[in-house]
């Protein structure tokens, strides 16, 4: 199995990289953004007993990571099928 054409190979790879960068942007924002850089600002907001920045650093970022990986796995599966490079 391989790509039908050189263009297909390039398109597949750039779609992969684009998806990856989008998801990594979210990864960065919830952890380094909300959990570290903006923590003091977000701590002004509260959900229950949690200060929001503290919640992102110790809870929220971790839940987001799980979702990110499954979104990636699902979207990549679709991409593989679109370009006919999935495993049989």
């Amino acid at each position: 199995m391989a790509f039908k054409s050189k263009e297909d190979a390039t398109a597949y790879w750039s779609a992969n990289v684009k998806l990856m960068l989008t998801l990594l942007a979210v990864w960065f924002v919830v952890s380094f953004g909300f959990g570290v850089i903006l923590v003091d600002v977000l701590n002004q907001i509260r959900i229950g007993g949690y200060k929001l920045g503290f919640w992102f650093a110790q809870q929220g970022s971790i839940y987001t990571f799980v979702v990110l990986i499954f979104v990636y796995a699902k979207k990549m599966g679709e991409l593989d099928r679109k370009y006919g490079v999935e495993e049989k």
Binding site: M1, A2, F3, A9, Y12, W13, N16, M20, L23, L24, W27, S31, F32, G35, V36, I37, V39, D40, N43, I47, G48, G49, Y50, K51, F54, W55, A57, Q58, Q59, S61, I62, Y63, F65, V66, L68, I69, F70, Y72, A73, M76, G77, D80, Y83, G84, V85, E86, E87, K88
Partner: protein
């Protein structure tokens, strides 16, 4: 039944279970483990990866660190989970497609060079041995408490058990054993957390309990904790930063990159049938890890709360030393908890002020183990925690020792120096390598550079600065050649090692530290544990520059990179 007997029974039963599974799995399914085509289901593989991943650092040490670091402890929580995102997107599917068995093998092939493979082996061994030192610290703490001996003796007993365990069960059937170990450790972690959360907040889910109000009042748990600790002069729990914001950023990054660069985790993704499974398996691993990692902050805050309440039951009224509870006495025997009656009033004054503080030693690593006792939970829960801690330490130690052994026997002996070595001698070499690694790590574990989680963080820094960049660039940049990769790995790990050694001592022997572990000597205020991220940047830059001025990689290597970028045609992973 008394605690000691019960602990022996519970620990004994779980050990019998692991050994039983190892023997059962060895009978027919050895091949299924080594040959990925045989197929470990991605969910099962995720669970085994989680056990492999969560070590004494996660189980025994992390919540204790967070208990005293407060918000600053978030670096461990984010760092040790966020790395799986990198692993799933940047490495796992491609390395699975490549389909070999060890990490140095990929580096050797991608950079068409035995030298690159040797450098990778050396980096891998340095990082893994440091990691095992951290495990030894955790194992030593656990054994010293349950055998009621001092830390050194506990460590020796632990070394013996790890040795037998790794040599016996380590080679075969490890995946199934690790699934059992995951079940034991996750029960052992969450059950006491549920009890304690119920006690303190009335909410059985610790993740929600942490954000709830205290039983019988409308003050939130975290607000109450902030108040209690600040009254004794400590920093507010929920905002206490780990040194500077920059340090927290770099520390988190270092742990994340290190997660994606540690060989014992990476090789787990060779055991799934397909590239697509490698992606989802990373997700499942993180699901199982998340159960513990989101419980840990609750365990941390509640342990700190109970600890404070024991020592200062009502405001201004301190615990009388002669009336100290049993857990206090037990931990004193290990030398990891120490009281000095400075003002001679027979009361336990605890404060942030070094001159008046009488709790002179409170080893962070005892908190998780002591927590159920402090909260006065039934004995079987305490025994279960002991079994869980040992499961966590053993599963990781076995995984790491396997990675070290395969690097030495498969990559160095067979791959480079003695290509004709027989299978029997290769096996012998790997056993000797395991024994050597346990010996070295155990010896250095007598005076560990930091608490278990801190030591493990150093290991992550070393993996982050050497292995991760070489792997990532090998996949995402066709232009990186062997000169670049080798120079990058050497530069990255050297910068990190020098920085760590100058502050922590050569091979972490404190007396050989030539700059002292003093914050004012730290580069931009970044602590040595966090320096791996800087080492990784150095690695990337050096590799890129050197590759630009040297020759392009040959055609067949560029084609190889093309081929690993698409899933089709993955086939079975080859054992050798």
């Amino acid at each position: 039944m008394d605690l000691q007997t019960l602990t022996y029974i519970v620990v004994g039963l779980t050990f019998a279970l692991y050994i039983g599974i190892a023997i059962w799995a060895r009978a027919g399914t050895t091949k299924d483990f080594y040959v990925a085509g045989g197929g470990v289901n991605p969910v099962a593989n995720g669970m085994a990866t989680a056990a492999d991943w969560m070590s004494a650092a996660s189980f025994i040490s992390m919540a204790g660190m967070i208990a005293f670091l407060g918000y600053g402890g978030s670096v461990f929580l984010m760092g040790w989970t966020g790395g799986f995102v990198l692993l799933a997107m940047l490495l796992a599917p491609y390395l699975r497609k490549f389909g070999k068995f060890t990490v140095p093998e990929f580096i050797g092939d991608r950079y068409y060079s035995k030298a690159a493979r040797i450098v990778a082996v050396v980096c891998l061994i340095i990082a893994s041995v440091t990691y095992v030192i951290g495990q030894m610290k955790g194992i030593g703490v656990a054994f010293s408490r349950f055998l009621e001996v001092d830390y050194g003796t506990g460590l020796l007993v632990g070394m013996g058990i790890v040795f037998v365990y790794a040599v016996m069960g380590g080679m075969k059937g490890i995946t199934y054993t690790q699934i059992a170990q995951y079940c034991v450790l996750i029960f052992a972690y969450t059950i006491p957390a549920i009890f304690i959360s119920l006690n303190l907040t009335g909410n059985p889910i610790p993740q929600l309990g942490l954000g709830s109000t205290m039983v019988g009042s409308d003050t939130f748990l975290l607000d109450r904790l902030d108040q209690v600790v600040t009254e004794l002069g400590f920093h507010e729990y929920t905002t206490q930063s780990r040194l500077s914001q920059l340090n927290m950023f770099v520390y988190t990054m270092s742990l994340m990159i290190g997660t994606a660069g540690l060989p014992h985790v990476i090789i787990r993704f060779f055991t799934v049938p397909k590239v697509a499974d490698a992606r989802s398996s990373a997700g499942w691993a993180l699901v199982f890890i998340t159960i513990l990692y989101t419980t840990a902050p609750a365990v941390a805050a509640m342990a700190r709360m109970n600890f404070m309440n024991t020592i200062e039951p009502t405001k201004g009224e301190y615990l009388t030393y002669d009336e100290r509870p049993q857990w206090f006495r037990n931990w004193e025997k290990t030398g990891l908890l120490e009281f000095q009656d400075k003002n001679g009033d027979g009361k336990v004054q605890y404060s942030a002020n070094k001159d008046t503080n009488e709790m002179v030693t409170v080893d962070r690593d005892i908190m998780v183990l002591a927590n159920p006792e402090i909260a006065r939970l039934p004995n079987w829960v305490i025994a279960l925690v002991a079994a869980g801690g040992l499961a966590a330490a053993l599963s990781t130690a076995a995984g790491l020792l396997l990675a070290i052994a395969s690097a030495i026997s498969h990559d160095l002996c067979k791959g480079v120096f003695m290509p004709d070595i027989s299978e029997k001698s290769e096996l012998m070499a790997s056993r000797i390598a395991m024994a050597g690694a346990i010996g070295v790590a155990g010896y250095l574990g007598f005076n560990p550079p930091d608490f278990a989680a801190g030591t493990v963080a150093l290991a992550f820094g070393l993996a982050a600065s050497s292995i991760f960049p070489a792997l990532m660039m090998g996949i995402f940049n066709k232009r990186i050649n062997k000169e670049g990769a080798i120079a990058g790995m050497i530069a990255g790990i050297t910068v990190t090692l020098l920085y760590v050694f100058q502050h922590k001592g050569i091979m972490f022997v404190a007396s050989t530290s030539f700059m002292g572990d003093l914050p004012q000597n730290w580069f931009l205020g970044i602590e040595p544990n966090a320096f791996g991220a800087i080492g990784a940047v150095v690695n990337f830059v050096v590799a890129f520059l050197v590759s630009r001025v040297t020759q392009e990689p040959p055609e067949h290597v560029q084609e190889m990179v093309e081929s690993i970028r698409m899933p089709a045609g993955a086939g079975e992973a080859q054992a050798h």
